[in-house]
Symmetry: C2
Subunit: 394 residues, 2 copies
């Protein structure tokens, strides 16, 4: 065989390249002010506490956690997760229905593997998380975008899509959504749940940011309304550290065994060592105190960003007012493309993510994502001022 | 929606349950002597050295390795792997073509995701590794089994299958194969490579046990004969510890970018923390000395098992003579089923893995797998004596 281009499976043909990874290349220049990231702020990683937790894990159960383990994940950790669901969200989740995954990205892969045949309908909020779009694309569903905005999911569009396209799966990030920062209001959740209840679809509630609330009141999980249809995805990435790649699926009982087979076939199991370390960390440290510190900083930075936007952006530009999470979403006047703005801003060494990769089919959109978790207040003011100048000239 | 059985994607329909997991349930009884395992011996896990390595990683690069990382894996670790390929196997591998995975099981998933359309031909050695059969099954290939034995892969059957079925992928474990313990002799590798060269297929050389040689001489990797067609799979599971779930793919350049997209979509990346720890361990410890200790023990245990077999098994039962690895393969006389033997032996509290799950289509086979890595010599003698008694009565 010559060294020609290989024949690649059809499923890889439509997977979008990671747009953000391309953009991040620009930001390697240390002089660039980046609002493009999607990372938690590393200054809050509890390095020393994790080091101590690791130390205890090696000493107390070293050989056991270095051996192959079960595919479900450490039972103790799944019990901790179930208890936290009960305490924080009033949800009754059986630890036996929790599957530990390599971050929630793997949760998306396993759910798709288990439920999606090629061409099956997949209803997704739009704009929507691009990592999810990438994970789903592998399984070649029919994407059915439904708009989300400050009021949550567009209920009329949802109803229309449910009845016309009969989707198998529905993907949502109802708390501090990526990319827009919005949350589904309570009334909207109820309305969405009522419509979904009468369909045959599973609803994925992806909730990586739910514990990063810095203002406002929480609304109930979809699992309260749709216990048999909601698949919960959770992650330690934004609350402790992403580098451990630890997330989980909490799935209706009927799905669990199939997800487990998919997990076994995919990589046998997620490392028990890091699971044991995070559990040890959670047992010896107060997660709520830790989260309070993170939320204070992210809240201050979000407020600073909104204030800078108010002073520097043209008044024709609107932006969302998140109650938590890591992102703001700004909308340029109709007809303008965020991609063009990106090019100009990058020349001035300020970057963000143009809205395009968060849409299934639209291009040259007029919206953009601004990250505030990794930038201090002084840098926010400088960066937003530059963006404002570029916009005024635009 | 009622709590009925969910509609599952077609791809999960044919995935075999993990047979070994079922069997392992029997072995939870501490009185059972188990030759059924597929685990490395935990007494050789370098717990203290890994603890020290972790400590240094937290202190020297804690925040960085706890953040999200690139999908390829740590460059330093990929360089180490490339250097070891050069040193131990005389292979020139560009670190830029190495992708760190969650064990080689994930390597199999990513390769399948990237290359297999439903119904594509997949040529697999038979008996073959059941974890691989499970990983491939998700992608619904046409399995094309070709026999392996003491002489390596059956070249006539290979030639016939290549020409009649035009497979996309070929799966092999040429060193100390799982389940049989055999290795492909040099002449056989050459003959296999010549046939494969004129096909359009990629050949997977899965090599988890290659460094566990306790006698005999090594033969060249397929990558020497087929550099553009060989996909190498490696793993730290059997040489350091499986609990870290660290393996890799070394792929021809033309495939690499596609595998990387599949990796991103599947779980973003393998944890950089454990990658950094294992690299730190490898830099501060002599892996060859460590391997010599393991090989000495496994070699002694293999020899003890063969001696016990010679004393206790009926002379009609043949078994392989591995030069390394963790498994022996025994063949009962034609017409006998290892499954029946298993049931009788389990009553006497000795277990092994009947050959069935290592075959694609055959059932009630007359072969069985015996693991020697996890059992000391005294226990081997006791367990094999019991098996011999059961066989004589059988």
């Amino acid at each position: 065989m010559d060294s020609v281009q290989p024949i690649i499976a059809d499923r890889l043909r439509d997977v979008p390249r990671s747009f953000i990874r391309e953009i991040l290349k620009v930001t390697l220049d240390p002089e660039v002010i980046s609002f493009a990231g999607g990372l938690p702020n590393r200054k809050f990683f509890p390095v020393e506490a994790l080091r101590e937790a690791s130390d205890r894990v090696y000493r107390e159960r070293g050989e056991a956690v270095l051996q192959y383990g079960n595919s479900e994940g450490l039972l103790d950790l799944r019990e901790y997760i179930a208890e936290r669901y009960a305490e924080k969200q009033g949800l009754t989740i059986d630890p036996a229905t929790i599957l530990i995954t390599n971050g929630s990205q793997q949760g998306l892969d396993l759910i798709s593997k288990t439920l999606l045949n090629e061409g099956d309908g997949l209803l997704i909020e739009e704009p929507g998380y691009l990592g999810a779009i990438q994970a789903f694309s592998i399984y070649r569903p029919r994407f059915l975008p439904v708009p989300v905005g400050d009021g949550g999911m567009d209920v009329e569009a949802l109803e229309e899509t449910l009845s016309s396209a009969d989707p198998r799966l529905i993907y949502t990030v109802p708390n501090f959504q990526n990319p827009s920062g919005i949350s589904y209001p309570k009334a909207n959740r109820k309305a969405v749940a009522e419509l979904v209840a009468s369909s045959g679809a599973y609803l994925i509630e992806d909730n990586p940011y739910g514990e990063l609330r810095f203002k406002g009141e929480s609304a109930a999980s979809f699992a309260r309304y749709l216990p048999e249809q909601t698949i919960l995805l959770g992650s330690f990435s934004k609350v402790v550290a992403p580098g451990f790649r630890l997330g989980w699926i909490a799935a209706p009982q009927a799905l669990y065994e199939k997800l487990l087979i998919a997990k076994q076939a995919s990589d046998l199991h997620t490392t028990h060592f890091t699971q044991a370390v995070i559990l040890e960390y959670l047992r010896h440290n107060n997660l709520d105190d830790h989260l309070a510190t993170i939320c204070k900083a992210y809240g201050d930075q979000c407020r600073a960003m909104r204030q800078s936007i108010a002073s520097h952006f043209p008044s024709t530009i609107s932006c969302t007012d998140p109650d938590g999470g890591m992102f703001l979403w700004a909308r340029l006047p109709e007809g303008m493309a965020a991609l063009d703005l990106f090019e100009e801003a990058a020349k001035r060494k300020v970057v963000f993510v143009p809205g395009d990769p968060f849409y299934i089919s639209r291009e040259r959109v007029n919206s953009l994502r601004l990250n505030f978790s990794c930038v201090d207040e002084e840098t926010i003011e400088r960066g937003i001022a530059v963006l404002g100048e570029v916009m005024h000239r635009f």
